[in-house]
């Protein structure tokens, strides 16, 4: 099995490129929904301890929208799309043509939450289909599940899953750049065997 501590630069670069292509496609989809320019930063491939993963995106108690998908097929694991609350409001307003202002989590009604979930579905779908096209691997995702809560509590879910096989979490994360209208993050956490499968599919 892939040894986390012995990954070489080439492997890391390839994983970064996978993140780049996935998030690139997702960003295009998001731009269309918002009808605004959205760009992303260079993805990071990081190996983090459990104590760090809970605040890798934001402070532990920052309230965010988390949309989680379980991945199956050739690639197993999880993908999470995180959005801060102002961006969540902005996206819901774009989808439903509303002009509500409050980004308090309790002020999102069922229809707005369902719209947010649908945005998550479209964006993560764009990410995963790009990944699947490039690697020629089958990636089947579950229906998305949405939760608005503290960042640490959301990220504990992929951490627990990875905790079953390792004491660190290897993740590919990408965020939108500072000029974008949206503050959001993609976190792809394939299981260890799937990392190997992905690398092999690209000839490594």
């Amino acid at each position: 099995m892939l040894n986390l501590d012995e990954m070489n630069q080439m492997q890391l670069d390839v994983l970064k490129e996978l993140g780049n292509i996935g998030a690139g496609n997702a960003t295009t989809a998001l731009s269309k929904i918002l009808d605004a320019k959205v760009d992303m930063k260079v993805p990071k491939v990081e190996m983090v301890g459990f104590s760090e993963i809970t605040n890798i995106i934001a402070d532990e108690e920052t309230i965010m929208t988390g949309i989680l998908l379980l991945l199956e097929g050739d690639v197993n694991g999880m993908m999470m799309f995180l959005l801060d609350m102002p961006s969540s409001r902005k996206l819901v307003n774009s989808m439903l043509l509303r002009d509500a202002e409050s980004d308090d989590p309790t002020d999102f009604d069922d229809m707005e939450l369902s719209a947010l979930n649908e945005v998550g579905n479209i964006i993560t779908g764009a990410y995963l289909s790009a990944l699947s096209d490039l690697t020629r691997l089958t990636i089947v995702s579950s229906v998305p599940s949405l939760r608005i809560d503290m960042a640490a509590s959301l990220l504990s879910i992929p951490a627990i899953e990875f905790g079953k096989v390792a004491d660190k979490v290897l993740l590919i994360d990408t965020e939108f750049d500072d000029l974008s209208a949206i503050k959001g993050y993609f976190v792809l956490v394939p299981d260890l065997e799937s990392y190997e499968v992905m690398l092999k599919s690209l000839g490594l």
Binding site: L70, S145, M150, A152, S153, L154, S156, D167
Partner: protein, 162 residues
Amino acid sequence: MGEIIKVGMADLKVCKAPDGLTTLGLGSCIGVVIYDPSSGVCGMLHCMLPDSKAIKNNENIYKFADTGMDELLRLVLAKGAARSKLVAKMAGGAQMFSFGSAPTDFNNIGARNAEAVAAKLKEFNIRLLARETGGNKGRTIIFDPATYMLTIKAVGVPVHEI
């Protein structure tokens, strides 16, 4: 309260009053505190998984309810807690996301974590004075050894104590 010591994920800390303990944004993990009111010694564990024996990679003993609880007990005793006076409180174990199609061991991990910690307390003969587990919300917990209260903060719920 003196200093409030932060306990991370898969982590454990022990201290003595007036210092307190906190862990931020618990999801399906459990935050459990055991303390001895006579000496003010207290310890908090933030564990992620119920059973170290079910898993191959188990070097980090704080990750699991079973090995983490053993270590928690050992360390509060080493810090001077009286074994017979120890009591406990716990919170966490939420089910943050649910998937109809997911294997049940994904969907009920929070509940299994809570039961594993409760079972260890029973084995140690330590009384569980209060617990708030389950639900679908993340929790921040803060333990104050001056009042022995565990403060719980969750999104959309008033701050409360158990």
